[in-house]
């Protein structure tokens, strides 16, 4: 009987497909270019993925809860500009908590609209993408924002320092990933997020306050965005108003690559981290094999489509189906 074994393998592939794809892909690029697996290259990729990664952690909560967040890129620009501006006005020690508070306020507003008023999250966050961009420009007067004394501030710690040889952004990304993974998989709140995203009506019938849970997922997302903004600002100590532009789609791509369903109710923090790394290493690998930077936009898109296709194909048991 080969039947059960074959099914077992198929099952394993369907569940761990993304991890296997990741490994195959790393080996492929490593064979093509030795530099790819050099330690400094790997650190470089993970560090440049950290900002995207931190944002993707938050969006994972929103997506599992059954909603979308397309405002994160625009909101990250806001956080970056605000913290840089406040840095010179009130000092870094006050600037950071004030920036977090303001970003959380934006998250709370979105959470209120989507959770309590039950408005469609696609419309709300797409609108907020534009509205927050306007807010950022208003704040900065449209100018780039720079810290006056770039060498004399400890603010650069978050984006530029290393602890025991490891870049701080990587440590923050890892720490946040571990904490949020625990929150999602081990706490009652995490379980409620899955329930609300899996079947909102059944969650209500089980006495779960659906509106509050959705609201909370947007707060988690805003907290992650504020952290990402801090890393971005600290790394460059100066920024354009559009620093986060387009990142909402990359973030969403990483979450989907990780295998979270856009319908809600499934996904994990660990899988999102894998999704983020795949995206980062693909872009790095393409550069190393000598392709133009612009090509990566197209390749990234193709890989996402491929991932989604393989995901549905694994679920329905064949690549091609006349019915969905």
């Amino acid at each position: 009987m080969t039947g059960p074994t074959k099914q077992g393998v198929g099952n394993f592939l369907a569940k761990q497909g993304i991890l296997i794809a990741f490994v195959i892909f790393m080996i492929g690029f490593a064979l093509a270019n030795q530099r790819f697996i050099a330690m400094d290259n790997i650190f470089g990729v993970v560090r440049s993925s950290a900002i995207l990664g931190v944002m993707a952690l938050g969006v994972t909560f929103v997506v599992i809860g059954g909603n979308l967040d397309l405002s994160v890129g625009s909101m990250m620009s806001f956080s970056t500009i605000v913290v840089l501006d406040l840095h010179d006005k009130v000092g870094p020690a006050l600037a950071i908590p004030m920036m977090f508070a303001l970003t959380l306020l934006l998250g709370a507003f979105i959470g209120f609209l989507v959770g309590y008023l039950k408005l469609n999250s696609l419309i709300v966050t797409l609108g907020m993408l534009s509205a927050i961009h306007g807010l950022t420009l208003t704040w900065s007067g449209g100018k780039n924002m720079d810290i006056a004394d770039k060498s004399g501030t400890w603010f650069s710690f978050f984006g530029q320092d290393r602890i025991m040889g490891i870049p701080v952004p990587i440590l923050i990304f890892a720490l946040l990933a571990v904490i949020l993974s625990m929150v999602l998989s081990k706490t009652p709140f995490g379980r409620k997020v899955y329930a609300v995203g899996g079947n909102g009506q059944a969650a209500t019938f089980s006495g779960i306050p659906r509106a509050r849970i959705v609201f909370m997922t947007y707060l988690v997302s805003a907290f992650c965005v504020a952290t990402a903004g801090l890393l971005q600002a600290s790394r460059s100590l100066g920024s354009q108003n559009t620093v986060g532009q387009g990142m909402e789609l990359e973030v969403l791509a990483a979450v989907i690559l990780g295998g979270a369903s856009l319908l809600g109710g499934s996904g994990t923090v660990f899988k999102t981290v894998i999704g983020v790394l795949i995206l980062g290493f693909i872009q790095n690998g393409l550069l190393l094999v000598g392709l133009d930077f612009y090509v990566q936009y197209m390749v990234t898109w193709a890989i996402i489509i491929l991932a989604v296709w393989l995901d549905v194909a694994a679920k329905r048991g064949r690549l091609w189906s006349p019915i969905a």
């Binding site: 039947g3 379980r191 899996g198 019938f205």
Partner: protein, 503 residues
């Protein structure tokens, strides 16, 4: 019925899936002008058999004959071309299109350059609708029709070819009694035209009303065919589950305690009006009425899902204010909802997580959910309710309907409620699990729970209830004790015939 050439015959059909023998040598035949019931518990192989017949699955062994001609089915479209059409339980209509477009979907009559021949489309459709005797016309938008009329459109679709055999899969699942009568007329009409009909249903009443023969499947095996006129429900049930089912009237055998829940003059807009009743500890109070009589809405109001416009709810003699399910749960009220899949369960979650969902916030050590406490609850209620699952990690969506329902019941029993409301406890559940759930409800009452059972099935209400509240059009018509109630006076009460109102 005399021996005729069968219009459709299956011989020794075997279908295996990895690890499962879903169909194991199934043979039966359908004669022209016959209504042939196909019965069996969930998982007995009815759906697989229909998929083989429709060409979706190829059988491993066996042969299908149409008019005694061996035929290999390759797709539902090819089956239809051979005159074998399916009326599915779940309607597959395009709501935004007209009746005519739906009936001829995929085969619209054409003029030159691929233009649709609308005139022909509408006249052809009207011809079909005429045989169905319906009140809507070819141009009506399907989304505007009632479920029953949508089903008529689905049947109309079958009539675009000259069907030789029509398969109805649970056609009455969402129909009212009046709508059923219309459906049965259509079936009788098809019968008169010499069409052979396979009728799949769980409802004994209907089976005995309209079918000529009954074939039974159990665990993928063919158990035999009975002539409807020469058998009875008991014999059929025995074939289906291998034992007979007790549906005798309830006789209260235990003492009742104080009033647990009392409702006084409760109203909710136009849904129900001035409803009063009380249920004691150890009592099962049945609610019976037609769909739309307001029973579910009362339960939802007590559970905090709707806001009452007037009236009081008293728990153990104290008036309580319930504005959300969270309040209701805290006060010790549990609701097993009507729609298991939409309201009762998160189908993608595992068994344990579903069961502990309402109390997950209390099952913690420190900030984290305690795995041990959760598994302990699951194990306790799996044993108590005899839930058959490979383990708590099993996704609930993969369980049978009966086991799913037990998960929902377990979820609410584990909250140790004072009042348990069960809305349609056995909807879409096979006969064997049904009697288990009935026994369970009686047992819970004996243990001192106050239980409210809402049901649309009269035998069920009669079987489990100590008293029965009959509702009609949002009002309580009468409350019967087990001694007073008869099928006749109950039917009269829910049809609004008895004017007297006894609180």
């Amino acid at each position: 019925m005399t021996e005729q050439t069968p219009i459709l015959r299956l011989e020794g059909i075997v279908k295996t899936f990895p690890g499962v023998r879903a169909l194991d040598g199934v043979s039966f035949d359908v004669r022209p002008g016959e209504v042939h019931a196909l019965m069996g518990e969930n998982g007995a192989g009815k759906s697989t058999l229909m998929k083989v017949l429709g060409g979706i699955h190829a059988p491993n062994e066996g042969q299908i004959f149409i008019a005694e001609e061996p035929t290999i089915m390759t797709s539902p479209i090819q089956a239809k071309a051979k005159g074998v059409v399916f009326i599915h339980q779940e309607l597959s209509l395009a709501g935004e299109l007209s009746v005519a477009e739906n009936i001829f979907l995929g085969e619209l009559p054409r003029k030159s350059f691929g233009r649709v021949d609308w005139a022909k489309l509408y006249t052809d459709t009207d011809k079909i609708l005429k045989t169905l005797n319906v009140s809507f016309n070819a141009r009506t938008r399907v989304g505007d029709l009632s479920i029953a009329n949508q089903q008529m459109v689905e049947i109309g679709r079958a009539l675009t070819v000259d069907p030789r055999a029509v398969i109805f899969d649970e056609p009455t699942a969402s129909l009212t009694d009046a709508e059923k009568v219309v459906l049965f007329d259509v079936i009788a009409d098809l019968q008169a035209r010499g069409v052979g009909i396979i009728y799949i249903s769980h409802r004994m009443e209907e089976i005995f009303k309209i079918t000529d023969r009954i074939s039974v499947l159990r665990d993928g095996q063919y158990r035999g065919t009975l002539n409807t006129a020469e058998t009875n429900e008991d014999a059929v049930t025995q074939l289906m589950i291998g034992r007979s089912l007790d549906l005798s009237r309830n006789e209260s055998s235990h003492d009742m305690g104080d009033v647990a829940l009392e409702v006084r003059g409760l109203s909710c807009g136009s849904l129900f009006n001035d409803v009063s009743f009380a249920v004691r500890k150890g009592e099962v109070l049945g609610f019976y009425g037609l769909v739309g009589a307001g029973r579910t809405e009362i339960a939802e109001t007590i559970f905090g899902l709707r806001t009452p416009s007037a009236g009081q709810i008293l728990l153990n003699g104290q008036e309580v204010r319930i504005t959300s399910p969270i309040d209701a749960i805290r006060l010790g009220i549990s609701l097993v909802p009507e729609d298991r899949k939409d309201q009762g369960l998160v189908l993608g979650m595992n068994c344990r997580d579903n069961m502990t969902l309402p109390q997950i916030g209390d099952l913690t050590t420190g900030p984290f959910v305690s795995n041990g406490a959760e598994v302990a609850i699951f194990d306790q209620y799996r044993d108590k309710l005899d839930i058959r699952t490979p383990g708590w990690r099993q996704t609930v969506g993969n369980l049978s309907g009966g086991n799913q329902q037990k998960i929902v019941i377990g979820k609410w029993l584990s909250m140790r409620p004072e009042v348990l409301i069960v809305d349609e406890p056995t909807r879409g559940i096979d006969v064997g699990s049904k009697s288990e759930i009935h026994n369970l409800i009686r047992e819970l009452a004996a243990q001192g729970y106050a239980v409210i059972v809402i049901s649309s099935e009269m035998p069920e209400v009669l079987h489990v209830s100590d008293r029965i509240v009959a509702m009609f059009s949002g009002a309580v018509m009468r409350t019967f004790t087990a001694e007073e109630v008869t099928e006749d006076n109950l039917v009269q009460a829910i049809s609004g015939i008895t004017p007297q109102k006894v609180a």
